[in-house]
Symmetry: C2
Subunit: 418 residues, 2 copies
């Protein structure tokens, strides 16, 4: 069978399975999640035996230690997958919620009812635990999922996918509701991206290369983000102790992630007192500073920033710094160079705090808090499947509710249109 | 200047204008809508003089009377555009609404705030009044819009677009927030479809040909529907008087629209008493019936339906009819041949009514009411810009709220992530 046919068949089966999953009772879905959690723990040695094959192949290919670490299904990672599933099981089921209902003048009772999206195509790279995390979120939200993992984790992914289907079937749900494409060919990804009519949405997770490939080739809507060029604006009159603490946290606590700080904009009135202190604290954590001309005058250790720095996501301990004359200049800079991901202001001013919140067009805008909070768990959505920096459907982190949509429902007693 | 550059420039200006529109006070936006309504009425003779050029060209090209009728900006059509704008001005502003707010354990106050989508690319065919209707909805919802109309209405559209920009500027809003692409080249549509980064969503309105062209060529998300193959299921034990009335209304009240009935599914137990009566009432309105074998046995005047009939949107006084043995068979038929647009059941049974509502995957599912109610105004959304039969973002009719999204906002007092 060709790769194209294989993928089309999997998607057709997933579409069929989605109908059953959409009306599955919450208790049954939760029980399947718990069954899977138990199965992961019970089968840990077998999973690790298969995982060892992927690790051996990775070593042979000369993969880095960090890469091999992400690939490893240690006892801790398996325990954390199981724990994650149990947490998802404990979250409320978004499906079936009627988000509003109103009576029309003709007596028709109209409402909106939350329903699953249908079939999700989930495309990801090396970490095999993502197989279980994504399948758990899709199952809980009543969606079927077709999983396409990276070639480095194929053996591990196949073993995990088998356990997922078994857990579904043990609870009377169709195993086809969560299947892994058993080949890691790029042709398989291409085939998945063309299944409009069977797949409702594509969610890619991985590096910018993967995401651009998916976005450019998909004829199905894609929920994605390319990068996070996050800004902190230190306002005139800000609490500078707070600003230092937030800048250090946002930049240094985990510099490789999308909600880490990349550019700091400092009001000119505070630059002289703030920048040397902030620079000292940031450099103490190993951060390289790239500054505008006025920054360079105040921070001797900074190197000059070029035009290329402002739109750059470093994913590293590097921070670009610019002195601005007003909040409007800061907001213009953000509109021009930002990625609509996460921006924060440190301020004591009521009006400017409100104006920053309203005027900045990003998926999360914060006053007096670190950009690092842009995360489904931190914001209180429960688990998240990813972040969307497109405006359509869900802007920002996507939890269970964002894996659903609403349909209109109407109860009548014979109404016809006049 | 090339068409591509022209379109790119318009989109760039629209993106800039969108920032101003996103924070424009409701009163200012409403006043601009009212200014435009007055201007349309005051300039009716001038508009009609320009419209006469389009009509003359249409006559020369041998366009049908129905086509010329749709193209005509009569006094009545101008009054109705103005009235529509006044109604939109009177609707609540969706922008700025905080749809929820909650406190995290660390004291961070997190919420979701409704914001415009940004820049909308709106692509439509012949009716020039759509220029005003679409611009009004986009303005009210805080979005900039780039309009691309059909070549048959270009002179009328240019005149209307000029009045729109004047009304914006008269109220201190940027005229670039609503501009018509001044050429009707297909290259202009292609160029608009490639402005990712500047345009957030494309909404096409027109025939299936236009919509498929847009969907296949856009690198920007598209909200669209191809067709409405709507079903009515007449359940075992249904009120047959009601079923006849609903069937006739759904099929015959306006057969050319997307929420008109195309297929009727009748439970076998009711077929003998229902079908001859229903056929008589439908045929009295000029409806042709195409039936399955069992239908043909009960309705002499019906012609045989072929496999091609079941997925067909006739947009005409034709109805396909099938006798089924159970509601499950009806639901399977809908899942296979339907277009996820609108389906209705006529029933007296509590459990089956609920099961139909939950199990049918369409943008509107009705119990004991006509499919013709799938319309923004009829469902109580106020005006609508279109219907989306994709699951992403908004499933079904899209009103003002569906032209917005939400961003996360967070108020802190120095929170950092641990």
């Amino acid at each position: 069978m060709s790769v194209e046919q294989l993928v089309a068949d999997l998607c057709q089966e997933a579409r069929q399975a989605a109908r059953a999953l959409a009306v599955a009772p919450s208790g049954v879905k939760d029980q399947a999640l718990l069954t899977l959690a138990d199965a992961l723990e019970a089968n840990a040695p077998a999973i690790q035996e298969v995982n060892a094959k992927d690790l051996a192949a990775g070593r042979e290919e000369g993969m880095s230690a960090a890469f091999l670490d992400r690939l490893t299904l240690s006892d801790k990672v398996i325990a954390s997958m199981a724990q994650g599933l149990r947490e998802v099981a404990s979250l409320p089921d978004p499906v079936g919620e009627v988000t509003g209902m109103w009576r029309r003048p003709n007596g028709l009772l109209v409402g909106r009812q939350r329903i699953p999206l249908g079939v999700i195509g989930f495309i990801y790279e090396s970490r095999p635990n993502v197989t279980v995390d994504a399948a758990g979120l899709c199952l809980k939200s009543g969606n079927a999922v077709v999983l396409k993992g990276g070639k480095e984790a194929i053996n591990s992914n196949l073993a995990l996918a088998e356990l997922i289907s078994q857990a579904l079937e043990a609870n009377g749900l169709p195993g086809a509701a969560a299947r892994l494409i058993p080949t890691t060919d790029r042709a398989a990804t291409m085939a998945l991206l063309k299944q409009d009519g069977l797949v409702d949405v594509i969610i890619p997770r991985g590096g910018e290369g993967l995401i651009r490939f998916v976005a450019e080739n998909s004829s199905i809507p894609v929920l994605k983000h390319y990068k996070g060029v996050c800004h902190l604006y230190v306002d005139q009159g800000a609490d500078l102790d707070m600003a230092v603490e937030i800048a250090v946290n946002a930049k240094c606590q985990r510099p490789g992630v999308c909600n880490a700080l990349e550019t700091m904009l400092v009001h000119a009135d505070e630059a002289e007192s703030f920048l040397p202190r902030a620079a000292e604290a940031l450099m103490a954590q190993g951060t390289e500073l790239r500054g505008c001309q006025r920054t360079l005058e105040l921070v001797g250790a900074a190197v000059p920033a070029t035009e290329e720095d402002w739109p750059t996501e470093y994913e590293d301990l590097i921070l670009s710094v610019m002195v601005v004359d007003s909040m409007d200049q800061a907001m213009d800079h953000i509109a021009r160079y930002g990625s609509q991901h996460t921006e924060a202001i440190v301020t004591r001013d009521y009006e400017r705090g409100r104006r920053f919140i309203n005027g900045v067009d990003s998926s999360l805008v914060l006053v007096n808090a670190s950009t690092r909070f842009n995360d489904g768990s931190e914001l209180g959505l429960g688990a998240e499947i990813g972040i969307n920096t497109g405006k359509l459907h869900a802007f920002g982190p996507m939890g269970l509710t964002e894996l659903t949509t609403t349909k209109f429902i109407a109860y009548g007693d014979g109404q016809v249109r006049r």
